[in-house]
Amino acid sequence: MSSWLSWPVRIVSFLFWYAKEFIMANVHVTLDVLRPASRMKMTPAIIAVPAASRSDSEWTLISSLITLTPGTLTITISRKHGILYVHGMFVEGREELVAEIQEMEDRLLRAMRREPGDLSRPVMAPIVAPEGESGGGGGRR
């Protein structure tokens, strides 16, 4: 029964947390755009982030929210393997970006689901080899 009571609190606290992250990321990116080229310190990377989302709406919201945050961009997802392919602008290391995205996803899922339920991420190391079946084009997922 307490999950009914804490649900609105979780939704509102997610919205405030996301607004804070959104503004901070905006300032960060704006400063980097205006910095002289010699001191630009961009370290972009495309990272496979294991995701805990299950339903269509969860996948849509988490990938949109990642893209909406300046500096990070969802390029594509693999629902089958539970992976978000995220392009980050300031990536210090694989673990840092994965932790950042997974924190956002944890908070989002706790706000979206009445019972937080299963937040586990079954794929620890992403399965990256393409399928064996024939078909043209590259990198299609």
Binding site: P44, I46, L73, V128, G139, R140
Partner: protein
């Protein structure tokens, strides 16, 4: 009260113009499609949202509040979905990330590189 909301509204409009200007500068300064899409797509969304909120504060009514909320939500959604569509189709059409991109997990999923033997299975 009217003066205060007028000043805040004009401030929000100028902030929005500044954000749009910065993202336009970003278009020229960033080296590849993905950096441009992630910086510009979202900053442009925020810039338009700021301008809409500023206009709302200058000319406030409940009807305008509803219109502004819908406009901001639609703008955010459109800029997010648009950036993702551009980035995804760019990757599928061989627009490679700039050399400073130091990890590229998506590259490992490319079937054509596996066929050429550039990446071991």
């Amino acid at each position: 009260m009217n003066d205060v909301s007028m000043i805040i509204g004009v401030g929000a409009i100028f902030l929005g113009i500044f954000i749009l200007l910065v993202s336009a500068v970003g278009l020229f300064r960033f080296p590849d499609l993905y950096l441009r899409a992630s910086a510009v797509g979202t900053s442009a969304g925020l810039g338009v949202a700021c301008i809409v909120v500023g206009a709302l504060l200058i000319d406030f009514s409940w009807m305008n509040l509803i219109k502004a909320l819908i406009a901001v939500l639609a703008q955010m959604l459109a800029s997010a979905v648009g950036s993702m569509a551009i980035a995804r189709s760019g990757y599928q059409n061989n627009s490679l990330p700039a050399d400073i991109t130091w990890i590229d997990d998506l590259r490992l999923t490319r079937r054509d590189l596996h066929d050429q033997g550039e990446i071991p299975r």
